[in-house]
Symmetry: C2
Subunit: 317 residues, 2 copies
Amino acid sequence: MKQLVEELLKGNRRAAARLITLVENEDRQKTELLQAIYPHTGNAYVVGITGAPGAGKSSLVDQLLQEIRAEGLSVGIIAVDPTSPFSGGAILGDRIRMQDHALDQEVFIRSMGTRGSLGGLSRSTREAIQVLDAFGKDLILVETVGVGQSEVDIVRTADTTIVLLTPASGDSVQTLKAGIMEIADLFVINKADLPGTERTVAEINMMLDMKNSASWRPAVIPTVSIRGEGIEELWTALKEHRLYLETSGQLAEVRLQRVRRELTEQVEYLVKNRVWAEVKDKFVLEELIEKIARREKDPYSSACELLDSINFFESKS
Amino acid sequence: MKQLVEELLKGNRRAAARLITLVENEDRQKTELLQAIYPHTGNAYVVGITGAPGAGKSSLVDQLLQEIRAEGLSVGIIAVDPTSPFSGGAILGDRIRMQDHALDQEVFIRSMGTRGSLGGLSRSTREAIQVLDAFGKDLILVETVGVGQSEVDIVRTADTTIVLLTPASGDSVQTLKAGIMEIADLFVINKADLPGTERTVAEINMMLDMKNSASWRPAVIPTVSIRGEGIEELWTALKEHRLYLETSGQLAEVRLQRVRRELTEQVEYLVKNRVWAEVKDKFVLEELIEKIARREKDPYSSACELLDSINFFESKS
């Protein structure tokens, strides 16, 4: 494991791939691994891209990749599909894309699907970002399918979040989840050669007008990704948003938030494991559960009793 | 509060509505309330219905309601919309439906939207079910929009789960989330007057053939809900599934599982609150978070240190 981390820090692609697999599989050594790479993280800039299936996310990312590579930045791409049980690059579309960039050592693409819960996916996505960050990637693109709450959680890890829409009615602004509006730093209207583009752009702008004027107003950028139109504008807008975050001090604030969440999760993870180990040591839970099911007890006072039994409250007060 | 619970148990509709609002708003007295009603729960049969927007869920539920009411059973309906910030019956469609049944004292309809997180919605849905269960409803229908993982979590509370599809391509069996297949006890193909119905039915049956033969094979029922076609068959299938669960002992097993989850959540909720109160009492977390952000520390060993500081590990061993 130590050797794998060393190889990662040296830039070994296979080590990166293996380490992501380890975190994804909830390997026993995961915490140790994350701890080892942590001092080498915090340098990558993370961009999240979310949009409905068919909105052209993959081709947009491919085009954007060319702009980014033209400036000499190295890139990690994490393609998250919450609906897919596959991971590790098994998704067909990503296989094809990987071939395109197979010879470019500065691009690393990885697919992640749901092995377990969505919560788990959100967590392992963040951990994969850590690995690619320590791996030395300048920019990490996290693309996720769909615009539901779960995707919002995944994308929340990003420094800049791009919400991808099309002029098609299904993606109309009215159908946007409430949460999506709040997380968007940039809107991209892809397939902008289709009718309805102007209306969609206008609707979003109207909505942005109604919002309390924050200091950053999201740009709304029409693109035709399969023809590469608007990609340069998108890349410029991305850099502007990054500059804004850096100069306004917001980037530091966002990253503190992220650390806060990471620490919180880790504390709760340790506490939970410990408490359950203790409880199960002293208690035959099944008996209690059957009593509750028969309504002889209730779950609320039973929970207090369990914690009393391991002196959880007493030892603390 | 005590009085509200008494009114609930007497069958007062306004008390039911108020109590659901209390759990939804995370009222301070929530635990006390849930504890008070718990002995009066466990009698209702819970049916979950999930399907994509536009699949005809509402009209299906309305039709089903007539069958259920014809047998003299009282009904609670919880309409969950994870995409809506509204709750308390504010959704237009449900207002209209409520008027239809406004004079029927045995029907209680309630809408719930996301106030906070989806996790919170899943929790408050379960708590609303508890309230309606104690309220004395024989059958509780939980309908939820969409077929994502979050909806799966919400629907998992149900004794019988109905997955609603249409012959339209977007709902094709291939696009079904992996998790949805596993939770379906009954499939309804609504809008079965549209072309493609037979193919959809055949696809689902093929998929069911491939599955390891469990003892219950989900029925696949074509309906045209706006004309009331197939509703009687659906109601019969529902009753068959319930009978199967009851006679096979699976209902008891499912309900034990639910109690286990409830107890687990309650224990973890108490533990978390307590640990954070202690930690925040002794620690200036912000300093630590800034150190972690500067990579002077890592979140993993910091979490252990925090727990050491409140003697969390020591006092337990």
